[in-house]
Amino acid sequence: MTDSPKNTATALQDDKADYWLTMHAELQDLLAGYADNELTAEQVLRVEAHLSGCVECRNDLARQQVITAYIADAALVKMPLSTQQNITQKLNQAADFTSTDNKPSQVLSYLFNRLKSLVNTKYNGNFVTKSGWLVAASLFIIMLSPWYLKSVVSNVNGTDLASVEPTVSMSDIPMIDDVLQQYQQIQQNSLPAMEDNATRTVNWQNADVLASWTVNVGGAPAQAFAVRYNNQVILQVEISPEVFFRNAEVRQAVAKNGIYRSQYNRIEVLAMPTKTAGIIIVGPENRLPERDNIIES
């Protein structure tokens, strides 16, 4: 018996239908990848070819995108203060590591930071002058002596977080206040240890990054940089555009002048948006770089 043309045509159609059903089942698992731009070029072609002929999958894709947008827009729930305090207390109580667990490099970097802050205090806010380095060098030698090292390692008395007094608010604008507080902290204490090799999205001449760390600004994580500029230490913070534009006063100033400026107790603040972030720069008044000299990297 030979296959009639009609039988062959039906068989082909059945094969096509089976193939379609197999594709349809397989590709459903790829739809999230398509919605999220996580597919390879080859996968994209396969999904798009299928989508052009499958309304169910098109609807599913559209619903996924709606769900994603809706969840992404939902406000973050902040940790209640009581929870923060409980966690801080538990961490304070958690076992510390003995001095033998401390790596030597951590002790040395601590000593160096102590040194910097000592020199800072002595020379009234200028970071390190020429003669300052001489003092620093001699202090460093003293600090390396065995008796001093031992006392530092076994008797470090840091601040108990639970007993920290709330600081006085300096600005009505939460993100500006957060940055001012951080600036005061780096003036009074040692700089935090360099966290990772984050790069700044803006730059200006004669700027050297001394340290980089993450900080909380306006309720969200932000990247902070301590930058030496003309013998001053300036704080530069980079935040998300969403946080940056939250405040009406900042928005209006930026709309009018391209930049927001304010002053608090001889400290100057400059805030400006870039393509990808909001930049806030804080330093002694009249010592910040000129707006026109600040260039997007």
Binding site: A17, I67, M79
Partner: protein, 196 residues
Amino acid sequence: MTILKQQFIQLTEPWWHRLYNIALQHTGNAATAEDWTQETLLRAWKDFAKLQERVATYAWLLKILDRVIIDDKRRSSRRNQIAPVIMVDDEILHGHACSTAGPFKQMLEQQQQGKLNEAIQQLPDDFRSVVLLRDVEGFSYKEIAEILSVAQGTVMSRLSRGRRLLAHNLLKTTSDTKKNTPQIDSPHTNNQKTLD
């Protein structure tokens, strides 16, 4: 407090709120969320001195949170084990009046506040984890795979199925399941066009 502990708190503190937010989205219960966040940070502190290399702080904390939740659920046998596989042509997804993009979006916006959160909490644990890491936190599939110690393909299929199940459950609880006219485009109808 030692320098090491100060460094630990300095490094992690910017992420505490977000960590708590994710924990709360998992459980819906503030006390449980606090317990999980606390346990995560205590375990992270224990690991901190041994951390040899620089890690992405938040991803590291989320990895620990994932283990804290699994351990807690294992202890109390409260795991959502069943992961039903809903296909795109499921009856509710196919037939509901709000199943296309516009009406679906409108339905979401008109829902009582917290309905979506409830629906997320009712997802199977595996689905919920990927949905939160992707749609709340915006991690890439590669990063999610590292946080949860699964393959990227697994992240993708769990996301597809998780979001689909979410849509299914949200539509199920919404009234008005008017049936649509038969769908076009599948090979079964031999490309005969009908009006929508």
